[in-house]
Structures are given as C-alpha cells and as structure tokens.
Assembly symmetry: C2
Homo-oligomer: 435 residues x 2
C-alpha cells in the first residue's frame, strides 16, 4: 500500500474497560502521540473481548479512518481473541513470529520453568504484517499496511504498549505519513481568569481560525490555549504564529503566565529560583494544598521553605501570633473588612498577619496566606468560596485580596491556591500588588 | 416509555479527549456504577465536538443499546454543541430550565458580577426530559425516556458529573431497570497493601466467582473490593454475602479499614471525632499532602489542628526543635537507623522528633510526621521512595516505620500519606504500634 495516512481511530479491546476496572489511558497516550505526528484522531472506541463486537468496531472505523490502532487482548488466554479477529477482518491469517517465540521460550528455559502451551500464542502475528517487538513483555505487536486501511496491533498493558509504540510503531508510521510540513504548537497558560471569560475575549479569533488554529481548554483551576500551524521549520513557524500570539497577548496578556506548558506553581518556583528567593506559606482554608502543589515541583526545596497549616484559631495564635481579640467571633461577616477587631479568622487583617508572620517565622523572602470558607458550610457567616489571600514581603506590610470562588470544597481550595500563586507571580513579574 | 433498560453505551464528546489532553475517566466511573446497577455496558465511544460525528455515534449506539449516556460539551461556549445535537437526534428541541437559569443568575447577582449571555446556555435542557440538577457547577443535565432509547446527558467535568449521576441519574434509572431482584453491594476498603498482592491472596475467589461476585480495583493509593449479590431484601443479601465477607476478612482483614466506601482520611477523622481527639502533623517529603487529604473531609476542623510543612532543615530546627547536629550531613544513608547522630533529615529519629514536637506545639492528642525522598532524585543518599513515618501520642515517645515506596513523585507522596494514616488507624483501632 502506498496510501498515505492522515486520519486514525483507536479501538481498545477489553471487558475490564467496560466494567470500569481500568481507565483507557492508552487512548490518551496514543492520541497525544498521533497528534504530534500530525494525524487526526476521529474517534476512540472500547469494546469487550467479544469477536462480533470487535469486528463491528473494526468495520465501522475502517469506513472513516486511514489507520486503526487496536489495543489489548493479545495475552495468552482464551479470552484474548483480538489477533485472530483482526487478521480475519484484514483477510489474513495469523502466523508464528519466530523471533517472538524464541524470546518466550528462552524466558522459560533460562528460569527453569515449564512453558504452558498457551504462552506460544503471544508470539502470533498477522500474516504479511511487520512484527513490532515487545521489549518489556511477551506479546508481539503487528503493523499491517492493507488496501482498506493500515492497522497497528498493540498489547494492552501501558508499560508494554508505550515502548512498543514509541520504538517500533512510530518509525513505521513516519514512512507512511503524507509529505506535509510538520506541526508546530505553542501552549499559552493563563491564571486568574475562567475559561468562558477568556474564550469570550478571543471569540472572533476562535470562530475565524484557519491557519494557525487555536484551542482553549480548562485544566484544574487554570486555562490553556494551544496555537498550532504547519511550517517548513521552526523559524517559519515562529513567523506564522507571531501575529496571532501578539493579538492574544494584547487581549488577555494580563493573565498569561507562561508560553510553555507548565503549571503555575512551576512558573512561580522557576521565578523564585532565578531570583534566589524563598517562599513560605500559612494556610487555613486550603489546608496544605498550596504546599502540596509547590512541593509537587521537583527541586522545589530550593525555593519553598515550608508552611504552617493553621486549621484552628489556637494554632493561628500560638504559631503565627494572630492576636486573640482579632479572632473572637465577629458580630457579622461585614466586620472582616473593617478597621476594628474582632475581624474573625476569615478576614483581610488576619490573612495579612498570617502572611507577615509566616515570612518572619520561616525566614522567607515572601509569604502567602489563605483563610476562608472552603465549604460546604459557611464560616463565620461567610458563604463557601469566600477566601482572603495575602502576600507579604519579609519585613513589610502584607496586602490582602478577597476572592469569591465557586465549586465544591476541593475546587475552592484549588482555585484559592492558584489565585494566591498568581498574586505572587504578578508581584514578581509585573511589580503590581493586586490580582 | 415503559421499556426496561438492560444495556448501555457511553458516548463522550470532546476534542480534548481525541487530542489526548485528558483521559476518559468518566467512562470508567460510569461503567463501574452501571455495573453496580446490573446494566451491561457494550461500548465506550469518544468523539470530537463535531455535530455530524456526535450524531453518527448516537445513531449507531441506539441500534445496540437501551440506554445512551452522553458526557461533555454542555459548557457555555460555541464549541459546546452536545445538547442541541442530542435533542435533534431524539426528535426534540432544547428549552430553558427555569430553576437552572435562576441558579446561574443568582450566582452572578449575589457576587455583583455581570453575566455573559453565553452562560444562559448552561441552563438549557432537552424538551420533555427530566432535568438533572448540578450541585457542583452550572450546566444542568437531562434524563430522557424515548421510544428508541433512553438517554442521559451529563456535564464533562468529573466533579460535576459524579454527584449529578449519583444523586439524580441513579434514582431515575432505578425506576426503569428490569423487575429483577435488586443488587446489594458492600465496599471493602483496604490500606497498606497493593492491588496485585491483595488480588493474589483472593485469586481463587475471583476466578471462581458466581453469586456473589467480587471485583477488586485500585484507587489512588488504596485498594477497594466490591462484593455484590441479587437478593429479595437487605436481610437475604446479608445472609448471601456473609460467607464470602468472612473469607475475605480471614485472608486480608489486617488491611481492611472500612466496610463502607470512604477514603482512609475520612475513616481516621471519624475515629478521632468519636474519641474527641485531635491530630497534628509535621510534613517534610509529603509537603502538605497529608494535611490536604485530611482537610478535604468536611468538618475536619474538629479533629485536625494543623501541620508544619517543614521543607527545609532550618524550619525543622526552628519550628520543631530538631537538634542541628541530628540534621548534619550523615556519613551515609545507613546512619539513618543508628543510635548516634548525625542521622540526617531522612531518618527514624528525625521523624520521631518531628512527630513529638508537632503534638506538643499544636496541643494535639496525636501527631504524624513524614520525612523521606519523594524523588526524582535521591535525598541524603536514600533512593526515591524511602520514607520514614512516625506517630506520637502527646507526651509520649514516638515510634517510626521505614517505607520503601514505588511510583512517581506525586504517587510516592500519596502512598506515604496513606501509610501514615493507616499507622494511626491501627493504633486507634487495634492498639498496635506498627504497620
């Protein structure tokens, strides 16, 4: 077959997927890789270990796409029928791959084990296909260039599928891709803005897109925009993308924290590292999540000193010296923004004091503090989602911002952390002291 | 429609799935839930935000299954076409859900924000369907009992989809299931044991299962086993399940912390609440994750005092009084388990001191401490995954355990936290001071 490949579908075989025992992470992995090769993925399908249903899925997919990637059902047991059904669909038979069989036999021989006859099945491949070796397991894969479609057969376990695909299927595919220019993408990452608000400001660009294309999507508490073009080389891509990138920066640049695909906590950690500075935190309503995010960045111990998770007023008083009379029950939530105590724990003044004390106590250059109502119940009369965040530079007065966030308890905690990180980011990059 | 439902397919809509930006975890969640209801899931499909492709998937699925569950594409933007395409497929139109709209408007009104017109779209539902309220977001869902098939429309974000399905779609479905004896399930939750190790000890039960059935699966850092039977009533189910439950408890009961579906942090919080006791923590390598897990449990402020995230040795010294000479670079990792300092930060003695000090400082009845190497690099010569956890009762000497964990940075942090919680759980429930 000399047909070039432009579109693909992924068919996963396995009753365990339909029972919910595992998630189809293979489809995600393969989709990312195929997008990188410039192939359009039209559909993911998962069916059980059932010959008729597998066949039906293969027939339908071959009507739509040039390339079918079929995963799973290559094991040694009676349930594992994918190889035979696929061969039949292609009008072929299965045959033993000599190198694959020798490898399986050697495995048992070297360990002094008796090989069950069923293990031989894992060396079966589709006649007239190219065998894809399995460096991390037994079952071989196949790559078949047929009249109707091309087809790649891969084992289900991700630790076998991924190396097989990357090492053997990708080179096979590259020879069959259209002689097109490669794709170049840029990822723009935004904070402090919701997906729908960002999209509204870019709506005409999204609706009118041709080349370059752009696609916004929401990740946990953040928004990402991907812009993509085809070009002969990196420099030409740069030139083609530049006007669109300029326009996006002009419209929503206030919220743009990175032009690479990194989470906000990593962007902040990198800034601090470059400045040789260290951050501390005091967390009430977020309960350690800000620290967890920051310490998820490898190497963060150089820039993050630590945090006091002050989940009770007693800890706020003892460890962070918030005056007891500030924390006494306030007459109402409106007291949180006044000049006289008691402000309550959920207040601008308490957040500021927590940040100032965290910086001093942990000898950090900067400190962030968060206090509020994560829900589901109100706190001190404040509805869930009310959060005060404060940023302090060591030895200076802190300043606080009030947030009104939506979502469940965990989402409110996450959004509060992302806003706090963005508060610091803006101070470090733009020199402003507000969100 | 009075047709009863026996089979289902799940159709996910979202170009982000086909680009590999997210995994289709909704299909996994829904499959597990549908299996629990006794419905057979025939197929999962994922298509892009493309009206023709969505329609094609709906038409084909309706030929095979009684119930279609369609997820994603209910947001406010132009891309979000699922509602309209689905309504057209059913021969219906969309109409505004008054309660849903009022909720969206109230949200903006209460916060003094201007509502974009596009936000109204999220209150659109399918004509003649039952609206499924969204307790954790804006977009309403729909449940439609049609001639060709029943159809349930759910929002894409898991934190919206899951509560909507569990609270509103499940009761709707239960009324339409065949007149069989209902299913009764028990969830057994395990900690301190891996999935494959647990499965190995239950292998003959899993392979020989008929009625009751049992299915183990791994959740984040924990393992769950679901046992299910059909019975006329709760008492009969109890009797049918009892022998299998007894056998499971006999084999792996040492790791069984709950016979209801709650995470370990909630089980620990409930124990502490019943005892009127409070927990504190000192976290080095887990960087706040233990606190984040515990404060994810609503009401945890009654049982969790707080935590010192001591990410540097300076914070360990200053806030938690670990002697400086303990923390000096040790001659080798083996020094961590000896009687003479320097032990290093990653050591049993340091973990014990951190726990003892955390309990004292935050006036808590119990404290957990964690210190180790989360990876990707070794710490003080200890390979990634080496973690010391310590448990202290206030005023008493702490005791430590050494863990050797596998996984990436985030998984090591998570597993360490779960082991620490299980350490406390065993002390509280079994009175033993070891894992």
């Amino acid at each position: 077959m000399n047909k070039t490949l432009e579109s693909a579908e992924i068919i996963a075989v396995g009753t365990e997927l339909l029972l919910g025992q595992i998630a189809n992470t293979n489809a995600q992995y393969l989709s990312t890789e195929l997008a990188g090769l410039g192939l359009n993925v039209f559909r993911h399908t998962a069916v059980g270990d059932n010959p008729a249903r597998i066949r039906e899925a293969l027939e339908a997919a071959a009507e739509r796409a040039d390339l079918l990637i079929v995963t799973g059902g290559l094991g040694p047991t009676q349930d594992d029928v994918t190889r035979e059904v696929t061969a039949e669909f292609l009008g072929e038979t299965v045959e033993m791959d000599a190198a694959g069989l020798e490898k399986i036999e050697a495995f048992f021989r070297e360990r002094g084990l008796t090989m069950a006859e069923s293990n031989r099945r894992q060396a079966l491949t589709i006649r007239r296909s190219d065998t894809l070796p399995n460096d991390t397991g037994m079952a071989v894969g196949s790559a078949y260039a047929g009249e109707r479609c091309a087809l790649i057969l891969l084992p289900g376990p991700p630790r076998e599928l991924r190396p097989m695909f990357a090492r053997y299927a990708v080179p096979w595919l590259r020879q069959r891709l259209p002689d097109m220019q490669p794709l170049y993408s840029r990822m723009l990452r935004f904070a402090g803005i919701g997906e729908s608000s960002l999209e509204k400001q870019l709506l005409d660009l999204i609706e009118g897109q041709q080349d370059p294309t752009l696609a916004p999507y929401a990740k946990e508490g953040e928004v990402t925009v991907r812009v993509t073009t085809r070009a002969a080389n990196e420099q030409e891509a740069e030139e083609k993308l530049a006007p669109l990138l300029r326009e996006i920066r002009k419209r929503v640049g206030d919220h743009l924290y990175a032009e690479t695909d990194i989470p906000l906590e990593q962007a902040v950690a990198e800034l601090l590292l470059a400045r040789g500075e260290r951050l501390a935190a005091a967390e009430s309503c977020t309960g350690g999540k800000l620290s967890d995010l920051l310490t998820g960045v490898p190497g963060s111990s150089s820039v993050f000193a630590g945090s006091v998770v002050c989940y009770t007023n007693a800890v706020k008083q003892r460890l962070l010296q918030v005056p007891a009379d500030w924390l006494e029950p306030a007459p109402g939530p409106e007291q949180a923004d006044t000049a006289e105590p008691p402000y309550g724990a959920v207040s601008a003044r308490t957040a500021e004091r927590l940040a100032e004390q965290a910086a001093a106590l942990m000898e950090a250059d900067w400190a962030l503090a968060l206090t509020g109502a994560a829900g589901p119940d109100p706190a001190e009369g404040h509805p869930p989602g009310t959060v005060y965040i404060a940023l302090a530079r060591r030895g200076e007065r802190a300043s606080a911002q009030k947030l009104l966030l939506t979502g469940d308890r965990d989402m409110i905690k996450l959004k509060a952390c992302k806003h706090a990180l963005f508060f610091l980011w803006k101070r470090l990059v733009k020199g402003v002291n507000s969100l």
